[in-house]
């Protein structure tokens, strides 16, 4: 791009009116005040989810002393994997103000294909996985095209797909049957762990990488006098991330076998690196790519996006393709956890759990707001409920009641904060 004449032809630019910018959040105190103002204005982000997680942990830990054991924590990580990945996909359709009710069964259908490729055709794990993800992508392409080109509300299109896609596993597996899912690598995602040393190396790399990136960003922004966070806040963020990542690594690196004298279970479950890789990748896409920016724009004001020359139809279709492809990976993780694929896979609560996870995490049902990280935080909340209740030997109806209640609560927080945002204008 060339420098435009409009700015270049002004010999000495009038004094900029943005002196406030550099003063705006110069200290941690200012940042804290900004944050409180944002909360007041209804921009809650992931705060409700984090408070909810703390609350659930406190309740379950006080009711059952097995809840906080490293064994159960590792279980929680494994159980939350498929919900988190599905929720991450859902974030993309919620971002553009749409919904995908078929994501759960799309995952089931894809997992069926993966299992069949492994069993009937002896494909290797990665080829079978690619086939499954391709099935997801095609489903998303079909849904997205119907929504974007015909203008059918996504609610209706995906409801139809929710019904129709359940036929796929039913036809391929037969009612009452199931396909075993015991490929060493894919099943291993849930039952095997990263070697302890490798886990530590990866954890340290993540912390160092995050620190380097944050500090580099701080330096390049502050050197040019652009809007940036105060150094203190950057350091605090790095410290918090380091505590979480290194703390969890330490926790999961200890021997967590129920009877440690007899055998050893230690290391980060393989699900975790899969989730983290997806989190990093999609965070990059959402925050640093043009496509990500366009997703937010379409969700915020589709007409403005169209006038800005953005291909709104393409963005819409891509959101559904990403959602269904992530659903395929989620279906794979679910199958890896249970060790089998059955005709009902993905047709249960998976979808509502995932929508709940995304919304609890801070993604808006009304479009334009959301992050990949929301899915992780919200997914942990949703997974904690059945995990904790399971330890308490509660009847499963309680689980439905509690999860339904949490979903309703999250949607209410979303709706209320949206109202406050529009009145506070934040």
């Amino acid at each position: 791009m060339t420098t435009d004449t409009d700015t270049a032809s002004v010999p000495s630019p009038a004094p900029s009116g943005f002196d406030n910018d550099n003063r705006q959040a110069a200290t941690i105190g200012d940042s804290a005040r900004d944050y409180v103002n944002r909360l007041r204005g209804g921009d809650m982000g992931s705060l409700p989810a984090i408070l909810g997680l703390v609350f659930l942990f406190a309740v379950f830990a006080s009711l059952n002393d097995r809840f906080l054991t490293t064994y159960n924590m590792a279980n929680l990580v494994i159980q939350s994997g498929s919900i988190i990945v599905l929720a991450m996909g859902i974030v993309f359709v919620l971002l553009i103000g749409e919904i995908d009710l078929s994501a759960g069964v799309a995952g089931g259908a894809s997992a069926t294909i993966i299992a069949l490729m492994l069993i009937d055709y002896d494909w290797t794990w990665w080829a079978a996985t690619l086939a499954g993800v391709a099935v997801g992508a095609v489903i998303g392409l079909a849904i997205g095209s119907l929504v974007a080109f015909l203008g059918i509300p996504s609610f209706v299109v995906t409801l139809a797909f929710f019904l129709a896609l359940q036929a796929v596993p039913l036809k391929l597996i037969g009612s009452g049957g199931s396909l075993r899912f015991n490929d060493a690598v894919l099943r291993g995602l849930s039952i095997k762990n990263v070697p302890v040393t490798a886990g530590w190396i990866a954890a340290i790399l993540i912390v160092v990488g995050f620190a380097a990136l944050s500090l580099w960003r701080y330096r390049s922004l502050s050197a040019k006098g652009l809007v940036h966070k105060p150094l203190g806040l950057v350091v605090i963020q790095i410290a918090v991330l380091a505590v979480i990542v290194l703390g969890l690594t330490a926790l999961l690196s200890a021997n967590r076998a129920p009877n440690p004298e007899l055998f050893e279970i230690s290391g980060i479950p393989w699900v975790a690196p899969v989730v983290i890789a997806l989190l990093l990748f999609w965070t990059y896409v959402l925050t640093k790519s043009r496509f990500g920016r366009h997703l937010y724009a379409v969700g915020g004001n589709a007409e403005a996006a169209r006038r800005a020359g953005i291909n709104v139809k393409r963005v819409r279709i891509m959101a559904f393709v990403i959602c269904s492809s992530m659903a395929a990976i989620s279906g794979l993780l679910a199958a890896s956890y249970t060790g089998k694929v059955s005709p009902g896979s993905g047709g249960g609560n998976e979808l509502l759990y995932a929508v709940g996870a995304a919304v609890i995490g801070g993604t808006s049902l009304f479009g334009g707001r959301g992050r990949a990280l929301d899915a992780v935080i919200g997914g942990l909340v949703i997974a904690t409920i059945p995990n904790g209740l399971g330890l308490l030997n509660q009847a499963s109806y309680i689980n439905f009641l509690v999860t339904g209640g949490v979903l309703l609560l999250a949607a209410s927080v979303d709706a209320i904060s949206r109202r406050r945002r529009s009145s506070a204008g934040v």
Partner: protein, 258 residues
Amino acid sequence: MPEPLLELRGVNKSFGVVHVLHDVDFAVYPGQVTALVGDNGAGKSTLVKIIAGIYGRDSGDYVFEGKKVEVHGPRDVAALGIEIVYQDLALCDNLDIVENMFLGREETSRFGLDEVTMETRARETLASLSVRTVKSVRQSVASLSGGQRQTVAIAKAVLWNSKVVLLDEPTAALGVAQTRQVLDLVRRLADRGLGVVLISHNMGDVLEVADRITALYLGRVAADVPAKDVTHSQIVELITAGRSGDLGIAENALTADV
């Protein structure tokens, strides 16, 4: 009279059975402010959206710098160097000022979006327009007042090396001081050699900054005259009745097919 930068010839546009524009000729000259006036529903915004490539036209030619061009969407129009500030501003409330200004034309570096370049250029542009009322270029557009949003929308149009800028009622929602700023800005853009189109219902504003006036009446061009040749009351007559003395549409054309 220099060659027009942008010219529409014999444009017709219907929405279903509603015939909104009838054989409209419209020209924009470099270094001049062309005011487009007309009553509510006269078809001004529709004409702007046709120029913007948002609506197709049923017939007529689109001529840019003397050559007939085919435009198939906002992207083609932006590529020609035509920028539009819409009546309904069309900003994304969930994005900040910089993000809005670069929407659809984001700068990228090897690592993805180049926020440093974008924020720097956005600041320079806003500063060159002497915009001092926004607190931070990173505040979300939802938190801006109507006038501030207008300023952002104009700055967005000026950011690009544009040749023609169309402003659809840019001062309608503004206070006295901000209206002054916008009008000065409109004049300055024309003085830099751009072709500027100003749509406004305020005849005082129009007479102050416009070089030419094109009046639309029920989708027809009633007059296309130098601003210095008409008076305030003549423009009002052209807008409300489609004619004023020997200017305007002949009676029979009016009754022909409305």
